[in-house]
Amino acid sequence: MLMCKPDKLMAINETALRNEAVRRIRGVIDPEVGISIVDLGLLYQVYMEDQVLKVHITVTTPGCPIRRYIEQQVMSVLSDLVETELHVVMDPPWSANMIAENIHLFDR
């Protein structure tokens, strides 16, 4: 029988939660370009703190009209996972260089 120390178990659980959160957020699509916000580089950080999932995302510009839409979509996909805090941050500002390198934009 394999045993894990309690703090190691907690680390494994947190990692699994983070991975699941990222997997779900990957399903949030920017409606203007039809690409996942993760692939666009809009997801900055996902981490656990005091048993709360903290998610930092950005939008392409401070006045982005679809900011609320993206916030709602991210919260929606995480709503049944764990208590979540979503923060929209503008530092560092988004740039096209943050788009995932292996993404072939708009391929069918």
Binding site: E32, V33, G34, T60, C64, P65, I66, R67, H87, M90
Partner: protein, 356 residues
């Protein structure tokens, strides 16, 4: 994270929607439809202010306010909405005050965005706000609409240009191309200002620049790629590219016809921009903006190509009627455009209800 109440959002959206419907109604009054006896809408004279300020101004300022989530930014859409209600109630002085106040706050919002991120596309949006302010000041001073209307044209046009430039970063256009686009926009606005002094050379340069800006967009817009996508993304791309096509036609017609004062030329030119371009953009973005402001998704359906086709088809009929001086075609085209917009709205509402 600061949020305004859903009630305020709903009220502002209702006002914007109401302005759109009344704007369409007053547009038909201008085409000769008899006004309902109990609606004192002054033969459609409020058509322009309702569409530009009541609908577009309220909606665009609400979008920015929703993005920034600062309480002071909501003053803009509230003031613009109040302005429309007061103007409709026959209170031009108070209505004018709120119109100017709302526009000033909108310029402040756009200026704040430029301070946050001092980039080309934000500068273009500030120009858009200043253009609206200029047009509204001239309007409240009692200037004839044909003297100021291109300031009103500049507001949605530059707003859209700025947004497309922002989004098109994903395409990594050459920096020189971006600066060229910005230069063309600035020159175009300068020509709008010079129109007050001379209706010839500035007008021809405006028309040429319009064609050039539309070609730039067709060349560099991400819509060239997203047209290969599916559902709303593809639909949006088709709407965008067809809107740019209308700008080119508008520019060509402007070169051929010269500066329009009133009559069919004026009607054709304005509606090529406001219907062919601006409403194409509205159709393109509705599926994104509506959920952003309301939290309610609009499920995609191929039905939406129907109002799209009717919008452009009837606009063509209207413009042919204008160019050939065939009043019945002008009228059919106008009613057809209104029907297309109403069918689009109906489609949104039906899809939302079906989804629930």
């Amino acid at each position: 994270m600061l949020r305004t109440s859903n009630l305020l959002f709903t009220l502002l959206l209702i006002t914007a929607g109401g302005s759109l419907l009344l704007g369409l109604y007053t547009g038909l009054l201008r085409m000769g439809m008899t006004a309902a006896a109990d609606l004192h809408l002054n033969n459609g004279i409020l058509h322009g202010p309702l569409m530009i300020n009541g609908f577009l101004g309220t909606l665009i300022s609400l979008e920015r306010a929703a993005a920034l989530q600062k309480p002071w930014t909501y003053t803009a859409p509230v003031c613009l909405a109040l302005a429309m209600l007061l103007l409709l109630a026959g209170q031009p002085v108070t209505g004018g005050f709120f119109l100017i106040a709302g526009t000033v706050v909108l310029v402040c919002i756009l200026g704040y965005l430029f301070v946050l991120q001092s980039v080309t596309y934000h500068a273009i949006m500030v120009l858009a706000g200043l253009s609206l302010l200029t047009g509204n000041i001239l309007y409240m001073q009692g200037q004839p609409v044909y003297e100021l209307v291109f300031w009103w044209v500049a507001f949605p046009m530059l707003t859209i240009f700025g947004e497309r430039l922002e989004l098109n970063r994903i395409m990594r256009p050459p920096i020189k191309a971006v600066y060229l686009f910005a230069a063309m926009i600035i020159l175009w606005v300068i020509m709008v200002a010079l129109l007050h002094l001379d209706k010839n050379l500035p007008w021809y340069l405006m028309s040429l620049l319009l064609i050039a800006m539309a070609i730039w967009l067709i060349r560099y817009d991400v819509a060239r790629k997203t047209i290969k996508s599916v559902e709303w993304t593809r639909y949006s791309a088709i709407c965008l590219l067809s809107g740019y096509g209308w700008l080119i036609l508008c520019g060509i017609y402007g070169l051929a016809a010269g500066f329009p004062v009133a009559g069919p030329s004026y009607d054709a030119l304005l509606h090529m921009v406001f219907v062919g371009f601006v409403f194409s953009m509205i159709f393109a973005h509705a599926a994104v903006i509506f959920p952003a402001l309301t939290g309610i998704m609009i499920p995609y359906h191929t039905y939406f190509y129907l109002p799209f086709g009717l919008l452009h088809g009837f606009l063509l009929v209207r413009v042919i009627g204008d160019l050939a001086w065939i009043p019945v075609l002008q009228t059919i085209g106008s009613y057809g455009n209104v029907a297309a917009i109403l069918l689009f709205i109906a489609g949104i509402l039906i899809q939302i209800m079906r989804d629930r």
